[in-house]
């Protein structure tokens, strides 16, 4: 393997990883911290992509589209939490699985009805469509670089928010014992709604960024959801730091698996990785609760 190829693949792995992290951070918050198994997280990814695609068509500005989609999914997530999901926090995980599975079906069909069954393919503006030579002789697509940077920024922000800020403490406390945190004077209801919305919006952001790279289509969130689940489980459910490392790990091993292994075996890489890690550490790499 040449050094250029290696470097390029590392970047590819990072790009996939940071993308996954945008998904995983939101899911691990909702999943591990708020104790809600939200399979519909993939739907937020999809909605983000569709919102962005539509806004992009209307305005022609990628920044506007991304911002609009972020806000759109934020609102959608909060609305969903207020209307339905908040009453599922105390329910059994399986109930949550079933309810959010229902949401997947709903959203997929909704998108099919509103936007049609065929996929959308977005073209990037000329400025982002090319590549730059980070290392001379090894060009790399600008857009993918942007994804990497955006992902890393969000990662840092989230880490600070959750593990350093008082808000983070309250969220974690509320996750383990809602009643108690309320009895101590915290309006956990609103806090959870906001956190849920934020998680959804991050997924939406991931979808927005994936749109021009891949395709905007019905069900695009489903397979991403599974990979995201793999990530947060490897990282340790509820741990943002774990989700970050696991995202990069999964991104890199998937990319290199694809290069070094035959096609179907390559698809297995991340699952083998997960099984091995869980075998050695049944709570993931960074178990959030002792």
């Amino acid at each position: 393997m040449g050094i250029f190829l290696f470097a390029e693949q590392v970047l590819n792995g990072l790009q996939l990883g940071t993308m996954l992290f945008l998904m995983a951070s939101g899911l691990t918050l909702v999943f591990g911290i708020m104790n809600l198994v939200n399979l519909a997280h993939g739907s937020f990814y999809m909605m983000g992509a569709y919102f962005a695609a539509t806004l992009f068509k209307l305005t022609g500005s990628l920044v506007l589209a991304a911002a609009g989609a972020f806000v759109g999914v934020l609102v959608l997530g909060m609305a969903l939490e207020i209307a339905i999901l908040h009453s599922f926090y105390r329910r059994d995980h399986l109930d949550q699985v079933l309810a959010t599975f229902g949401m997947i079906l709903f959203f997929n069909e909704l998108v099919r009805m509103v936007w049609g069954p065929q996929a959308y393919f977005l073209a990037l503006p000329e400025a982002l469509n090319g590549s730059v030579e980070l290392i001379p002789g090894a060009p790399y697509p600008i857009y993918r670089l942007i994804i990497i940077v955006a992902g890393l920024t969000v990662a840092l922000g989230l880490y600070l928010l959750i593990s350093r800020s008082r808000i983070g403490m309250l969220i974690r406390a509320g996750a383990s014992n809602r009643t108690m945190i309320e009895a101590l004077g915290v309006n956990i209801r609103v806090l959870f709604t906001v956190v849920f919305g934020l998680g959804a919006a991050l997924a939406g952001l991931a979808g927005t960024m994936a749109g021009p790279l891949l395709a905007v289509q019905v069900g695009m969130g489903d397979s991403v959801l599974i990979t995201t689940l793999v990530v947060i489980v490897i990282g340790g459910i509820g741990s943002v730091r774990g989700a970050f490392l696991a995202s990069l790990l999964v991104g890199l091993s998937d990319t290199f698996g694809r290069m070094l292994l035959p096609a179907s075996l390559a698809e297995m890489t991340i699952y083998i990785l997960m099984a091995v890690i869980l075998y050695r550490r049944p709570q993931g790499l960074f178990p959030a609760h002792g």
């Binding site: 250029f4 069954p117 393919f121 073209a123 990037l124 790279l213 096609a263 698809e267």
Partner: protein
Amino acid sequence: KVKIGFISTFSGPQGVLGRELMDGFSLALKNLGGKLGGAEVTVIQGDDQGKPDIGVQLAEKMVERDKVDVVTGINFSNVLLAVAKPVLDSKTFLLSINAGPSQLAGKDCNPYYFNVAHQNDNVPEAMGQFLTAKGVKTVYLLAPNYPAGKDMLGGFKRFFHGRVVGEVYTQFNQPDYAAELAQIRQAKPDAVFFFYPGGMGINFLKQYAQSGLKGQVPLYGPSFSLDQTILPAVGDAAVGTFSTAFWSETANNKANKKFVTDFEAAYGRIPSPYAATAYDGAYLLDAAIKAAGSTKNKDALRKALETVKFDSVRGKFSFNTNHNPIQDYHLYEVTKDSAGRLINSYRSEVFTEHKDAYSTTCTM
């Protein structure tokens, strides 16, 4: 009355293919006054989502419950192969208007199976022939990992005599090709031959351009990688790319001129080969049912299908002994038309009255 079961991929990244096929077929039906061979037509539509198992379920339902006369519409070879058994076992006609898996052309050929489009190997065979003649030394091959992908690259290699420096089968419907592109850059081939239909093609072409490879290694593909389901979404990144095909939107014959004009008028876009073969399929059925009188006498209908003549948008068309087409193949280049839209422009003839490689192994 004629009942047609139309199974196709209507959703997902490949959903455009189903739409193209359906639109082409419907256009023909409209031109034929809603009738095939004078009989009223009911079309029952089913979305296989590109998945063989769903295709099988749909086909069984159509054959058993709806009792259709003909199953058609299928765009993916893997779905077609899976659907073939329940349909053909019940002695229902299976008319392919796109997919052409080698198995059904060869050892698994069947009296009730007809392919009015192409056998998968043929279009790439033409490109193999062309690149060999052009003197290309090394080539890198990519296709999705499913029967048509295998057939396509197999066909290419049958006529390409240079060196294959890489042959990659990616997961079906894989959206991201970053890893493969990095490897192409490393391999430095003279040319890349890729078969990625529909949404896969769009993603591949876009990412190929973004990665900066476009100026370095020229791309070649079968028409399905560069047709009208792909070009509008890809834009200028595709200009100058060569493909081989048995049909293009610019094909110069009377039937095709009418077809392309009607299609554009009806749907506001240029048709793709899928629409073209679907259109032909309807005309074939019309002619055959007319000749056989009805769909009730299956033997008569089969005879009619084998021999009947119809106005193909491809010009010359006839069936080989294995019910697969004998037709011409040409080279095209992606250019811009006067309105600035991307189109495939005729460059040269590669094969005339070309037959597939499997007809000899077919014993019916």
